[in-house]
Symmetry: C2
């Protein structure tokens, strides 16, 4: 359990480093030190060195890292050197928005299919991607070698959909439905709850100290990615 947790926090940081390196490469730099990376992107240089050392020795003392080599290494570590097919279940407002978003994101995931139960939606397309009948889920997952499922159905349907996904053999799932889900532990499930995130801001705004416009002495802190 502890190893899994460390690994996820670490890989999330590696994801961030990779995007920082992409920016640095776009600016034309060929080498970079952990100190420069840290300064430029508000990261911790000791943490960078520790994270990268965990996966092998990339840096050269006094020179830093070769940007291109480090990017290639990080892509390989993160599994971003391979393309994966992704499907989205639920072709409603959120599912459609996510299709559009992921279709144009520079990731190694391609949206291969959408699924819905509504006869009026089945057979139509969203941005060139077909909406299939949820009844044909297992068949299409197998045929199209889909490895990742995104749950974008209403809360009350999410558990049933997760069971369908599990039965199909898919091991990686991203859930946007705002409910806790039961999952078998050979499945990797990420939950992104847009409603709860907003409600936590609502709670913050409801506290007396935050509504009156007075600000306490603002100590700048760095807010790192939480997911």
């Amino acid at each position: 359990m502890k190893v899994e947790k460390i690994s996820e926090l670490t890989t999330n940081r590696l994801s961030v480093y990779l995007r920082c390196l992409n920016e640095i490469a776009a600016e034309g730099a060929r080498t970079v030190s952990s100190e420069l990376l840290a300064r430029k992107f508000h990261l911790n240089s000791a943490q960078i060195r520790k994270d990268l050392a965990y996966f092998g020795e990339f840096g050269v003392r006094g020179v830093g890292y070769t940007v291109e080599d480090l990017r290639d290494h990080l892509k390989k570590i993160l599994g971003l050197d391979k393309q994966h097919q992704l499907c989205i279940i639920g072709a409603g407002r959120l599912g459609t928005a996510l299709t559009d978003y992921y279709r144009f994101s520079q990731t190694n995931f391609a949206v291969g299919a959408l699924f819905d139960a509504d006869p009026e939606k089945i057979g139509t397309k969203v941005g060139g991607i077909e909406i299939f009948d949820i009844k044909d889920f297992a068949e299409i997952v197998k045929k199209d070698k889909i490895e990742v499922a995104v749950i974008a159905v209403p809360a009350e349907r999410a558990q049933a959909v997760l069971e369908l996904i599990t039965a199909s053999g898919i091991k990686a799932v991203m859930n946007f439905a705002p409910v806790p889900l039961r999952v078998s532990d050979d499945i990797k499930l990420k939950t992104v709850d847009l409603t709860t995130s907003l409600e936590s801001l609502s709670y913050f705004l409801a506290q007396p100290k935050n509504g009156n416009g007075k600000s306490v002495k603002p100590n700048v802190k760095v807010h790192r990615n939480q997911m």
Copy 2:
């Protein structure tokens, strides 16, 4: 620091309880026990009692909670009994999708304005909501009493946008840009990083044990909301 962390995890759970109670109310139930809530929604009944006791005594021994009263209490605790104006900065693919999503979500936030720097977008509308010039940000925030800002700009623009938000007096921010941001500690910043979430699934798929279709003995576990 520690109090803040506990409070956020607790309020996230309260958010989940509230949605569960909404479902129960829709089914016509007037009272509910922590055991029934736990069983029906895969929650922990002791945790429910502890969380609710933290905010006062709601339950009646042997009867449970009155659904309507508990919902009202939770809404008040979470600040969901008041409407808030929200604005989205960045009218690109993600900003547009979020506008559409939040416009129809049953939350107490209303999307009041979009902002962009692109002259071709300024003055047009997304789902009836006007896109304003980012130069007029402070003025419109003040006029429309906007309390929450959602950052949906590319990574390299996010820090500058956050500084604009901070200067306007807004205290609650949701960031969808996949970069760490520096923030003064009187501001509540939530980061939702859709790219990093996907990349962590990619890492999982790249591990030898997960690609071969063999499944280990599946022990069911409950995956709670992480945000």
